[in-house]
């Protein structure tokens, strides 16, 4: 048993260290039963633990690492270290840079692997073992919905990271879940008029859609929005997730009579399908007497990096961009850049903002009790977090703010300068009636663990 005892003691050593940083991180089950909690993971020591659940392996690992960096930066700022970042620009602000409600902020991290099971296991570890009071992060809608429903059951607040599906705050919305990121419907609403202005009202669109929930909601949203502008939809084709080579789906586009290709793909699928569509000469083609165009409704900086040259001139939407000209963005970009030597991605920004918003809501509620925190977040209007005036709508826990229509830059200065902001679509143009997606929030009563 020699080698077993060795690893045993090393793990114990690591564990001891962990206990040092998060004093409450070691509540064993009998202690927890002995103490009467008002709600799950009520912080009792001098620290409060947040759980950062991000993809660290799998296709979105880079995005996940960027989120983790931003969240660590948020912890720093909340604890009054560093330059304060967006704490300097957020309005209204209840935080004072002394942790949350006087308790120092500590965090634990985990790997979602971009899989629902792994993400839930990781979130459960944070809740059951590390005593996390809030979970944030994530880079796909499937994972966000899965973790959100888990958090609802556990009575722990979930501040969603990068998730773009309508379902997250639509039919799968939960009282304990909040989303700052925009969704496919907003993408469609923002993109429709821009596309019509850019490419004309008489266009025939061909959709290639990733064959899973997010792809379908996006296809539907974009289809509706473009048809409202007078476009017709020639065909919608579902492609298997992770197909790698999309050639067999792209060649039929050539002779379909369509003059716009809309790629409802995300991540690696989008990088591959766009690269290949460009290779097939679609962008040099003319159809129906018009120049053939490709549209990618949602993309991120990392995907733009992956697609390289091919992203040039492609129109899509984004939640945020570091080149935005406002105080919050500048402050955040500066402190992020100073810390890590590169500007933040939109995934980083949404996670950072979510952490700040949660902390601020606790401060305003005067308690960590999730019911009160939920109420503090509901209907909260704020500014100075990089997206302009924003509303956390009470009805579906979705943020409403300006949506960016972005375009791949023709002459990027460096690898962080791939997108230019084509238009900022005001929040009122993308606001919708919460009832259109159905779903119910459910109970916001605090629960005991």
């Amino acid at each position: 048993m020699t080698d077993k005892t060795f690893s045993f003691s090393r793990r114990t050593a690591l564990k001891t260290g962990l206990a040092g940083v998060a004093a409450i991180a070691t509540p064993t089950f009998f202690i927890r039963d002995a103490w009467a909690d008002d709600f799950c993971n009520m912080p009792k020591g001098s620290t409060v633990t947040l759980g950062f659940n991000v993809p660290q392996t799998g296709p979105y690992a880079d995005e996940g690492m960027d989120e983790l960096r931003a969240l660590q930066l948020a912890v720093k700022h909340l604890n009054g270290e560093g330059d304060g970042g967006m704490l300097k620009t957020m309005k209204p602000l209840a935080l004072e840079g002394k942790g949350i409600l006087g308790k120092k902020v500590a965090f634990v991290s985990g790997d979602t692997q971009t899989k629902s099971d792994a993400a839930r296991a990781s979130a459960k570890r944070m809740i059951e073992k590390d005593g996390a009071l809030m979970i944030t992060g994530g880079s796909s809608s499937g994972v966000a919905v899965a973790v959100q429903s888990l958090c609802q059951d556990a009575g722990v607040i979930f501040m969603a990271g990068l998730t773009h599906s309508n379902d997250t705050t639509g039919k799968d919305k939960r009282a304990f879940g909040f989303r700052h990121f925009f969704n496919a419907y907003m993408s469609g609403q923002a993109l429709g008029p821009v596309l019509a202005a850019e490419y004309g009202k008489d266009r025939k669109a061909y959709h290639l859609t990733a064959d899973y929930t997010w792809g379908w909601t996006q296809e539907e949203s974009i289809k509706d929005a473009t048809e409202k502008q007078g476009w017709t939809t020639v065909k919608t084709v579902r492609t298997p997730l992770g197909a790698g080579d999309f050639s067999q789906y792209i060649t039929p586009v050539i002779n379909s009579g369509a003059d716009v290709l809309i790629l409802n793909h995300y991540g690696k699928d989008m990088v591959n399908s766009l690269t290949q569509a460009v290779q097939f000469g679609l962008r040099d083609k003319t159809a129906n007497g018009k120049k053939f165009e490709i549209v990618v409704p949602l993309f991120s900086e990392l995907m733009a990096q992956g697609a390289g040259e091919n992203i040039k001139g492609i129109i899509g939407t984004a939640n945020w961009d570091w080149k935005l000209d406002n105080e919050g963005t500048k402050a955040f970009t500066k402190s992020f850049g100073a810390e890590y030597g590169a500007p933040p991605s939109q995934a980083a920004q949404t996670c950072y903002v979510q952490a700040l918003l949660y902390a601020d809501a606790c401060e305003r509620a005067g308690t960590f009790n999730p019911t009160k925190v939920i109420e503090a977040l509901e209907g909260f209007e704020f500014d100075g977090l990089g997206n302009g005036k924003t509303l956390y709508r009470a009805a579906d826990h979705q943020c409403f703010k300006d949506v960016l229509v972005v375009q791949g830059k023709d002459d990027p200065k460096d690898k962080y300068d791939l997108l230019s902001i084509k238009k900022i679509v005001p929040a009122k143009d993308v606001t919708y009636d919460p009832s259109i997606f159905g779903g119910e929030l459910g109970s916001k009563d605090a629960k005991k663990c």
Binding site: G17, G64, A121, A146, S149, Y212
Partner: protein, 421 residues
Amino acid sequence: MKPTTKLADLILLLCFAAAVAAGPVILAPIGAGYPDLLDKFVIYGIFAVGFNILFGLTGYLSFGHAAFLGVGSYAAVWSFKLISMDLLPAVLASVVLSGLLALVIGFVSLRRSGIYFSILTLAFAQMCYNMAYSVLTPITNGETGLRVLRDDPRVLDAALGRTGFTPSLAGLEMTGWTGYYVSGAILVIAFAISIAIFRSPFGMTLRAIKSNQKRMGYTGYNTRPFLLTAFVISGMYAGLAGSLLAATDPLAGAERMQWTASGEVVLMTILGGAGTLLGPVLGTGLIKYFENIFSAYNAHQLDVTFSFLPDGVREWVVHGLGLFVGEGWALTLGLLFMGVVIFLPGGIMEGIMRLGRLKRTPIVKSLGDSPQRDVIGERAIDEMPPEDGSAPARKEAPKGETHAGEPQKPVKSSEMKAATS
């Protein structure tokens, strides 16, 4: 082969049950003492124990067992949605459904053996996964996963006037520690059944198939029904595990059926020791531990842990260790796989057995009449050299020095020749 005594098996089972019962206390010091991870240990333990009945005994390597796990989960969630939140109908539905699926897939796949069998099972499982992820979304809810909703009908619960919203067994809610102990009890039962199968004439037959299927045929055995039974049993184990996964965490996602999930149970079993009773459970624990605990360390925590070191050294240490924990946990797991299989052919159980031998029995004099035992009544089952000469090769050390100092099984001279030829 001389059968082990009933007493030894009973002791093994009791020790196992005690270990499961004391799990929360034993595993707390290494940071694994919380319900969810322990749930995963025992549930995937059931999965691996079942897989081992097929692979460990017959040598048929299925690469599609995750399909049964997934179908079990879906069946359980549907049972929670339509019938009742009670565990029993869910387990029943899962086991029956995955058993049926195993019957169909097994019937077709078992027409082939060796690598062809593996690829056939893999192909079936991948088809199930791809369909579940996309076309079958009305049944599986695709990417988002199938969940229990408040407004589901739940006919039985409605009839009985029950309003509970968490899966339960006779009123015991399957959450937290209750969930763990219910699953743990099921694991112990599953383990007991597995021991019984290992020791039964049926188990013997399966082993005989592993040793030499052709000769089995010559003796007049029709091996297919035996194999199919083993396949269906292990499929039902997987279904059981799937239903428990759904019960402790009421969500069933398609990823559970992906080939990587099938691969995971293969790795768990081999890592622990295929063909041994305890091995699969140990392998499961190790892999799940890495996935959940090693991935959770981050640079910040390492920094704090090593704060006693001077700055320059600490940075270096933190950076070095950072490659292996957190986002690098998979690297550590990969290295572990390689290390175990290179230095401990036969998995962790072989390591434990070697240690046991080191302490107690210096060298077994004759292989024929003295079954190798370890401290806890485990017995190596690979005494009969398989046809492909794998057994002699096990004794052939990958590198001379790895076996240095270890007592070696005396090898019959004929086997020795085979190994060196």
